[in-house]
Symmetry: C2
Subunit: 111 residues, 2 copies
DNA sequence: AATTATTATCGTAATTATACGATAATATCA
DNA sequence: TGATATTATCGTATAATTACGATAATAATT
């Protein structure tokens, strides 16, 4: 019964958790860095750089795309990916909001 | 061969990924909210609030503790958890740093 | 000492994630 | 049209995650 009770939580919690999940693998963080570094939206270059098979990289790209953190368009036989800055900024804001709202409640030492 | 190639990535990437993983489930986000709301560091109260079994909540608490986001001390037969604000702030800073460093490189539209 | 309350751990099952090789799909180029 | 290059998808194996009930561990209380 893995990951079944998800719907019992709030939309915000689920949304933030989904974003965090997209960042929960070092390969995906590395991919985001590569996409930001390359001026053009590299595709197969990622496979060259990462220590992963092409199919695995493609899977990670798919997850980042599903999370909305990157966009991808077909460019001939190649695929062109790039960071969705809008979504990324939203995630950043959401996370900062969580942090500050938690902190506002209570920052005493405990136990 | 799930999650085997992790050591091929940088320490920073792994660290941030581990933090993100801790936040990648809505139950754990909910737990952090509860811990922040309660002035005292509630333990079993979390079980009452969440739609999860006691053992499942205990598992989530363990993961948050392993990630360093919360501290836990034994208080008689009860356990007392609280947010590790220092670690949380560090995570927040790391994530903001990733975001701003990505953004600094390139924010053009692409594809 | 026995009971009670609370929490952690164990055992288990189902789902998801991760990774790879092989293959299919797509479009460019000869 | 045929060959080539690039990427996505399929199939598969392994490992991790999530969830629960049952049980063990811990300490306060009677």
């Amino acid at each position: 019964m893995a990951s079944a009770k998800t719907e019992e939580f709030t939309q915000k919690e689920q949304h933030l958790a989904a974003f965090a999940k997209a960042l929960s693998h070092p390969a995906r963080i590395a991919i985001l860095k590569i996409l930001a570094q390359q001026n053009a939206c590299i595709c197969g270059k990622i496979v060259e750089v990462l220590p992963l098979a092409q199919s695995t990289v493609s899977q990670h790209l798919k997850e980042l795309k599903n999370a909305g953190l990157i966009d991808g368009t077909v460019d001939g036989p190649k695929s062109c990916y790039c960071i969705n800055w809008k979504a990324f900024a939203k995630f950043n804001a959401e996370f900062n909001s969580l942090f500050s709202s938690l902190k506002m409640q209570n920052e005493k030492a405990c136990c």
